[in-house]
Subunit: 156 residues, 3 copies
């Protein structure tokens, strides 16, 4: 581990930094997508949000409702959180173990690509198993990095 | 990037450490708030939790229910997760790019302030657009840090 | 803070790396558990997912439904996110403050242990206060680390 300090200056760390930022930005776009669907489908979760779409208070009460398209985007957002958080944590520790640049790039690119495919498949309701496969590819990429972290720097 | 190693000793990194800890602690307080509302409104999501509020098993079944105030706090907590996780990830990478201390402090303070305003606006159901603005300010602060990360250390 | 650079090479950092990876892997297993319960209980949240369990389109519509066991696993997963994310963020900053190895190991082990107990208690609906105690122990371990981060490196 003496070389860990150098790792934080390395191209692997720069690559991690770039791909982690891209995939986190992708996750943040889900907030905009939720807002967009709430506005266009007129389906809000808080009474105070409805004055953006209706004026009469009778109409506004009806807008506090659940819409299937909004829920779909919210599930996709939660799935991002459940998968991108592990990638960021394990990916950071993985980058500090000093992997080959080409191996690290492969992991980062496959993961980030799988999450973009997952989002498109989820939001557009593409027939399965597209979404399930994208989910699984991302998961196993993270497992592969976790395996290297645990085998190179286990300290219990 | 040769100076990145020094960055981790810098005042910018200390400032990130302080503000990240504060905003994560704020997020953790949402767990207490949820528990408090579940207790006082007697609305639980698990049958085994109801023995904290009622003894007769007939009464206890009725306590497994959804309460609008509990759901409001839970939505606020989830919104924290969706926004504070990106801040922490991108903020850490941003701190390592060696920004000016004053610029970095501005980003950290504006973000953390915006999340406190957001929480108060959400829990107390303050009329819009207070909450929407607080949300947007936090989001754009994170985008601004992501922009610096990608422009100073892009490696695809 | 001059010794922070050395901290990233330290046994404390290796220990953090190991325990953080273990507890994040545990969180990822909740995704598999959710899929397993969705398959065996035949309760899906997306119409396109039902073709994995039924062929006739009439039957498939009925499979888009909420099941209490699936919801229980999903609440456990969300609770993991709400608690493991703060542990990872604050634990990383804590490891950089240069704590004693034995003190740091105590924090990491207690936290990770508490989350395994929490998961078992949640999924198997163990009578309270088992789950509440496991939750509280994890929370206070994180608070203890946050206290050290703020007292050793406060920079507002």
């Amino acid at each position: 581990m003496a070389e860990v300090v150098h790792m934080i200056d390395s191209e692997v760390f720069l690559a991690f930094s770039t791909y982690a930022t891209i995939v986190v930005l992708k996750m943040m776009l889900m907030s905009f997508m939720t807002s967009y669907f709430r506005m266009t489908k007129k389906a809000f979760s808080n009474p105070e949000d409805t004055n953006l779409s209706a004026k009469a208070s009778e109409d506004r009460k009806k807008l506090v409702r659940v819409d299937p398209d909004v829920e779909r985007v919210r599930r996709c957002h939660l799935n991002d959180l459940e998968n991108i958080v592990p990638f960021v944590v394990i990916g950071l520790l993985y980058a500090l173990t000093g992997p080959d640049l080409s191996t690290a790039l492969l992991h980062f690119r496959v993961f980030v690509g799988s999450r973009f495919v997952h989002t498109v498949a989820y939001v557009m309701a593409v027939p399965q198993p597209t979404r399930a496969l994208a989910f699984a590819v991302g998961l196993f990429t993270t497992f592969s990095m976790a395996y290297r972290v645990l085998t190179t720097s286990l300290f219990l």
